[in-house]
C-alpha cells in the first residue's frame, strides 16, 4: 500500500494534472467554437493564438508529464513494495512543475507569448514563457532521477530477480523522457532564450526545429507510456485474467525506448534544411516504432481473450460477450484500441514523406493527434485514475455507472470531433488559422464538418467535467483500509530473464547510437554552415 506521505504526493500530482487538463479542455472547445461558422468572428486573431498556445502547452507539457510522474511514484511503492526514496526531491519536482506552469501561462494569457507550443522560431515570445517551460522540464527530470534511484536501491537488495514489469516499463519511460527532453531544452537554452533576452538578434530556425524534433516525437511516446503500462499491468487483473506474455511486454517497452526518439525528423518532412536521405532514414525507423504497438495489440487482445475464457466464454468470438463490460477498465481499453486503430492508421499516412505532403499543416494533423493522444491515451489516463483512486484516497468511488457514461461520452465525443476534422484536412483546410469565411463558396463545404467537430468537442467537455465530478465523489469522510493493490500476473511469471530484458544498458546504448547516426550529421552541418540564421521576430504588443 501507499505510505502516507507518498499517497499525498501522488494525489497532488494527479489533482494538478487534472485541473490543468480541465482548464485546457475548455480553452480547446472555445477555439473550436470561435473558428466555426457558429459564431461571428471576434476580429482579433491574437485571442485565438493565446488560447492555442495555452491549450497546447498545458495539454502537451503539463498534463501528461504530471500523470506520468504521479503514476511513476505510485508504481514505485506498489510494485517494488518499498517507500519512495527522495520525498523532498519529489515535492520539489512537483513545485517546479507548478511554478513553471504559472510562469509560462502568465505571459501567454497576456498575449506576450503566442508562439504555440512548438515555439515556432524565429518568432520569439516573452522570456518567462520559455523559463516556465524549462522549469517544468527540470521538475520532471527530478522524477526521472528518482525513478532510476529507486530502482537501483531495489536492485541492490534483490539482485538478479526480475524487475516487476510496471517498474521496468516506468523506468524505460523515464529514461526515454530524460533523453528526449534534451532536444527542446538545448533549443530553449542555447537558441531561443538568447534571442528572447535580446542577447542575440538572429536565430538559426532550421537548427532549432531540428532540436525540437528531437523531442517532438518521443514526447508522444512518453505520453503514451502510462496508457501502455495500464494495458499490460492493470487491465488483465482488472478483468480477472492474466497477461499473455511478460517477455513480450518488456520487449515492447524496450523497443519504444530505442526507436521513439531517433525518428523525430518525420515532423520535418517539409523542411528544406534536412536532406532527403536523412528524411528517408527517419521514415524507415518510424516504421520500426510501429512494431511495439502491433506487439501490444496482439498481447493485450490475447490477455483479454484469456480473461474471457476464464469467465466461461467459448467459441471463436463469443468469449467477447463473456467479458466484464460493466468494468470501466474493460470499456476504456476497448475504446482506446478502437481509437488507436484509426489514429494509428492516420499516423502511418503521416509517416510517408509523399503522403505527408498532402496533409502537411492541414487540419488532418490536428485531427490525427487529438484522436490518438486525446482519444486513445487520455481515455486510459481516466481509467488508471479510476483504478488508483480508491487506494490513493482510501475511499471507494461511488459513481460506478457514471464512470461508464463518462467513458462512453469521451469515446463518442472524440469520434464525432476528430473524424470530420480529418475530412476537413483532406479538403485542404489549413491548421492554426483563426478565421475562415464560410460564406465564401469555396469554403462552404467545410462548414458542416467543422460544426460536427464543435459538437464532438462539447461532448468531450461534458465528459471531462463528469470525470472531475466522479473523482470528487468518494464515499464517506474517513479513509478505510483498502484491499492490497496488485498488478496483473503473467501466464508465466518470469523467474529468469535475460539481462537485456531486466536492465536498460543495451537499449540506452542503441538509443544513443541511433541518435548519433540519425541526428548527428544534420546538427553538425547546420552548426558549421555560416549563413543559416534569420532575424528573430518578437511577438506581442508593439515595442
Amino acid at each position: 500500500m501507499f505510505s502516507e506521505p507518498s499517497r499525498r504526493l501522488i494525489l497532488a500530482h494527479f489533482w494538478v494534472a487534472f485541473i490543468a487538463f480541465l482548464a485546457a479542455l475548455f480553452l480547446g472547445e472555445w477555439q473550436m467554437f470561435m473558428r466555426s461558422p457558429l459564431t461571428a468572428w471576434i476580429s482579433n486573431p491574437d485571442w485565438y493564438y493565446r488560447s492555442v498556445t495555452a491549450h497546447g502547452s498545458a495539454m502537451g507539457y503539463v498534463f501528461p508529464t504530471l500523470v506520468s510522474m504521479g503514476f511513476g511514484y505510485a508504481i514505485i511503492e506498489l510494485s517494488l513494495k518499498q517507500t519512495l526514496i527522495g520525498h523532498r526531491w519529489a515535492w520539489a519536482g512537483l513545485a517546479m512543475v507548478v511554478a513553471g506552469t504559472v510562469t509560462a501561462m502568465l505571459p501567454v494569457s497576456m498575449g506576450l507569448a503566442s508562439v504555440l507550443y512548438t515555439f515556432y522560431p524565429p518568432i520569439i515570445g516573452n522570456v518567462f514563457y520559455y523559463l516556465g517551460i524549462v522549469l517544468v522540464v527540470l521538475g520532471s527530470w527530478i522524477w526521472v532521477a528518482l525513478m532510476v534511484i529507486n530502482l537501483r536501491a531495489w536492485k541492490k537488495r534483490h539482485g538478479a530477480i526480475p524487475i516487476p514489469l510496471p517498474m521496468f516499463a516506468s523506468v524505460a519511460s523515464a529514461y526515454l523522457w530524460g533523453w528526449t527532453s534534451i532536444g527542446a531544452t538545448i533549443e530553449i537554452l542555447f537558441q531561443i532564450l538568447p534571442a528572447a533576452f535580446g542577447w542575440s538578434t538572429t536565430i538559426d530556425a532550421g537548427l532549432a526545429r531540428i532540436f525540437f524534433s528531437w523531442t517532438l516525437h518521443a514526447i508522444v511516446y512518453f505520453w503514451l507510456m502510462p496508457a501502455y503500462i495500464a494495458f499490460y499491468t492493470l487491465l488483465p487483473r482488472a478483468i480477472g485474467g492474466r497477461l499473455y506474455s511478460d517477455v513480450m511486454a518488456r520487449l515492447s517497452f524496450v523497443l519504444f525506448l530505442v526507436f521513439s526518439m531517433p525518428i523525430g525528423m518525420h515532423h520535418l518532412f517539409q523542411d528544406p534544411q534536412v536532406g532527403a536521405g536523412i528524411k528517408f532514414l527517419h521514415a524507415v525507423f518510424t516504421a520500426m516504432v510501429s512494431i511495439p504497438t502491433l506487439l501490444t495489440i496482439f498481447t493485450i487482445c490475447a490477455s483479454v481473450e484469456i480473461a474471457g475464457r476464464l469467465r466461461g466464454g467459448t467459441g471463436l468470438f463469443s468469449w467477447i460477450s463473456a467479458l466484464p463490460w460493466k468494468n470501466p477498465m474493460m470499456l476504456a481499453v476497448t475504446f482506446s484500441f478502437i481509437l488507436l486503430g484509426f489514429g494509428g492508421a492516420g499516423g502511418l499516412i503521416n509517416m510517408s514523406n509523399q503522403l505527408d505532403f498532402v496533409v502537411h499543416n492541414t487540419q488532418w494533423i490536428t485531427g490525427h493527434f487529438h484522436l490518438i493522444f486525446g482519444g486513445a491515451i487520455v481515455i486510459m489516463y481516466f481509467a488508471l485514475a479510476y483504478d488508483l483512486w480508491p487506494h490513493l484516497t482510501g475511499r471507494e468511488l461511488i459513481l460506478g455507472r457514471m464512470m461508464r457514461t463518462q467513458l462512453w461520452l469521451w469515446f463518442i465525443g472524440m469520434i464525432v470531433m476528430t473524424f470530420p476534422w480529418h475530412l476537413t484536412g483532406i479538403m485542404g483546410m489549413p491548421r492554426r488559422m483563426a478565421y475562415f469565411d464560410y460564406a465564401d463558396p469555396a469554403l462552404a463545404a467545410l462548414a458542416l464538418p467543422v460544426i460536427m467537430s464543435v459538437i464532438g468537442g462539447l461532448l468531450l467537455v461534458l465528459s471531462g467535467c463528469l470525470f472531475m465530478w466522479i473523482l470528487l465523489n468518494v464515499k464517506g469522510s474517513e479513509q478505510k483500509a483498502m484491499p492490497e493493490f496488485c498488478f496483473s500476473a503473467a501466464v508465466h511469471p518470469p523467474t529468469h530473464l535475460p539481462v537485456a530484458l531486466n536492465g536498460f544498458t543495451l537499449w540506452l546504448a542503441l538509443m544513443i547510437g541511433l541518435t548519433i547516426t540519425n541526428y548527428g550529421f544534420p546538427i553538425v552541418q547546420l552548426l558549421r554552415l555560416g549563413q543559416t540564421s534569420v532575424p528573430a521576430i518578437h511577438v506581442g504588443p508593439p515595442r
Binding site: 532527403a276 543495451l506 544534420p522
Partner: protein, 264 residues
C-alpha cells in the same frame, strides 16, 4: 535440455538487437542516400558523391539560372531593402531638394497631390531609388518618367530618394468617408483566391522593409497601377508578387482598396 546460462542469453539478445538495428539502418541508408538520389532524374547534383551529399542535406553549389537578356523580360535589377541606402546626411538631402525642383511640375512642391501622380513625400527611399532605376532601365514603362529617369545618374537618384524620404507628409488630401474601416481584403486578404492581405506588406509599420507606403496615394494612381499589374503591363515586381495578387482582384476590389489607402 539444460537452460542456457544468462551470459549467453545476454550475448545472443544483444547480438540480435544490435544486428537488427545495424541492418535496418544500413539498408535504409543505402536506399535513402545512394539508390534514390542517384536514380532520380532532374536532380541538379552532378556525380555520385554530390548526390549522396545532397541527400544528406549539404547545400549544393548555387547555379543561378540565366536571366533574360532584355530589360523588359527581367522584372527589375534592383531588390530593395529599407536599410539598403543607408542613412542620409544633409548634403544628400540638399542636393536632392535641388534636383526635385524639376519634379514639382507633376509631383508638386510638397510632393503630394490630388491628381494621378504618386505622392513622394515620406516614401521609402529604397522604393524611390528602385522605381527610378526601373524607369531608366526600361523595366517599368512610362512615357513621362522614362526620359526623365534617363537623365539621372546613380548619385542623383540616391539624392532624390533621400530628399523625398525626408520630406514630411501632408495628407490625407482626399477625405474619403468610407475609408475608416479597412476592407476585408486589406485586413485578411482573400485566401481562397491566393490573395494575401494588403496590410501584411503595406501595413502601418514604419519599418516597411521593401514595400512602398501607400497611405495618401491618389485613388486614380493606385487603381491604375493595380490594373496595370493585373494585366502585367506593369511588371517590375521582382517575384511577381503584385501581379499574382492583382490578377485575382475584381474592379470593385481595386477601387475599394485604393479608396482605403487614399484616405489614410
Amino acid at each position: 535440455m539444460t537452460p542456457l546460462p544468462s551470459s549467453v542469453k545476454k550475448n545472443r539478445l544483444t547480438a540480435i538487437s544490435v544486428g537488427v538495428v545495424l541492418a535496418v539502418g544500413s539498408v535504409a541508408a543505402g536506399i535513402g542516400f545512394v539508390w534514390i538520389p542517384t536514380s532520380q532524374n532532374g536532380s541538379t547534383a552532378t556525380g555520385f558523391f554530390d548526390a549522396i551529399c545532397s541527400a544528406a542535406g549539404v547545400p549544393l553549389a548555387y547555379r543561378p539560372l540565366k536571366l533574360a537578356a532584355t530589360a523588359t523580360n527581367r522584372p527589375s535589377d534592383i531588390m530593395t531593402a529599407n536599410w539598403a541606402l543607408g542613412t542620409h546626411d544633409d548634403k544628400e538631402i540638399a542636393r536632392g531638394a535641388a534636383l526635385a525642383m524639376s519634379c514639382t511640375a507633376c509631383h508638386i512642391a510638397h510632393g503630394t497631390n490630388a491628381t494621378a501622380f504618386p505622392n513622394l513625400a515620406g516614401q521609402v527611399d529604397a522604393v524611390i531609388y528602385k522605381q527610378l532605376n526601373d524607369f531608366k532601365a526600361g523595366h517599368r514603362i512610362n512615357p513621362i518618367m522614362q526620359p526623365i529617369a534617363m537623365s539621372l545618374d546613380d548619385r542623383s537618384m540616391r539624392d532624390l530618394a533621400a530628399y523625398y524620404a525626408d520630406l514630411p507628409r501632408t495628407y490625407p488630401l482626399q477625405a474619403i468617408e468610407d475609408s475608416l474601416q479597412p476592407p476585408a481584403l486589406v485586413r485578411n486578404g482573400a485566401p481562397m483566391r491566393g490573395v494575401a492581405a494588403c496590410a501584411s506588406c503595406h501595413g502601418d509599420s514604419k519599418n516597411s522593409a521593401f514595400t512602398p507606403r501607400l497611405d495618401g496615394m491618389p485613388v486614380e494612381y493606385l487603381t491604375t497601377q493595380l490594373t496595370n499589374f493585373s494585366h502585367a503591363e506593369r511588371h517590375n515586381d521582382i517575384n511577381q508578387q503584385m501581379r499574382n495578387v492583382a490578377r485575382h482582384l475584381s474592379a470593385t476590389d481595386i477601387v475599394d482598396v485604393s479608396r482605403f489607402y487614399a484616405g489614410r
